[in-house]
Symmetry: C2
Subunit: 210 residues, 2 copies
């Protein structure tokens, strides 16, 4: 849940734009040039009315009846989400998860590049993991100042997450994607998002026969 | 986004219950026995009014003024989400991500246990990864029938995700957590949730100065 001081567009709408972008890129990938909100909504569990309403916040994306030009809409969404540039990201935590994140190829062409892998443990600092030599968290402030990095992904144990988040924020990071299964407190000026697979699993078991 | 044929409680409410449960467990972990929706909402970016309204769907969780008994509320939420039992989960995809998932210790005590790791590639089938020997996907139907498994996590490349999902559904899996950055089509009777870090990152860059 992000603050939306920067905009009058509800955060929940902003949250759906990356899903629209992902679905549009997939349509383009299979050779489509034009789509409709109806075709589009089949790939997303979002109604076509909601999609049209969301996109109308930004104006001029398409006209009902003629469909959406996929390339045009992709570029518009990339502009709105500010991912026409490549954002550098640091990963904090060089365990199994941090290592998997730093190997993950799904960031490329979607606006992000992992720049460095940090850890707090002397046992892993200096070790090579994939393309990265693990840096000490104490060097984060210098690194982000020199390289203009604003985004950190936290892949540390729950017990360390708040302390590491505090250090990351003090170093100047402005957006955190937290994989530790714990809510953390950050200043209102810092964006935070969470990834916790268990919350998704628990949401599904509600619907299963026990 | 799950179908909610099983219930009249909106899916969006169900989706918040795991967040409440996680926050309550954390409060208990630091020694609290009673909490209020006001204390509670500080840890979640959800209003106290929303929390009270959500919990009122299930009745009798607490009274305004006296606070919520944390242990009682935890047990109630575990009942509602059907995680008073341990659900077995299979992971499909034994690459970096699947390997990290199968090593992840955050499932324990939260209702889930990874039972097996599957892959489609002859290169990895039979290899040992952590505590698992990678099984061929063709054995999934037999495995889930014998062991009563209903949940699969997909950690395969985007290009393979739909095909693997089709095989997983054909084998009898009823709930899928998909890590591949692509929307997949499953029958309405199958639950599906997505984890895609890039969609979270893109949601935050909207609020950053480019």
């Amino acid at each position: 849940m992000s603050g939306n001081a920067a905009s009058s567009i509800p955060d929940i709408v902003i949250g759906r734009l990356p899903l629209y972008l992902r679905a549009l890129r997939r349509l383009r990938h299979v050779g489509k040039q034009v789509t409709s909100s109806h075709e589009f909504c089949k790939r997303l569990d979002i109604s076509s009315a909601q999609i049209r309403k969301d996109l109308s916040h930004f104006g001029g994306f398409g006209k009902q009846g003629t469909g959406y030009q996929i390339d045009f809409l992709i570029e518009k969404l990339r502009d709105v989400l500010k991912i026409n540039q490549e954002w550098l990201v640091v990963v904090i935590g060089a365990g199994n998860l941090g290592s998997a994140i730093s190997h993950y190829r799904g960031f490329q062409d979607r606006g992000f590049r992992i720049a460095h892998l940090f850890d707090v443990s002397p046992d892993v600092i200096g070790q090579r993991i994939g393309n990265f030599v693990v840096r000490p968290l104490g060097k984060l402030a210098d690194t982000i100042r020199e390289e203009g990095i604003k985004i950190a992904m936290l892949a540390v144990p729950a017990e360390q997450a708040q302390s590491v988040a505090d250090q990351v924020v003090a170093a100047g990071i402005e957006a955190i994607l937290n994989y530790a299964p714990i809510n953390i407190n950050v200043p209102a000026s810092v964006q935070i998002q969470y990834i916790d697979p268990v919350t998704h699993l628990q949401r599904m078991t509600y619907y299963l026969d026990g």
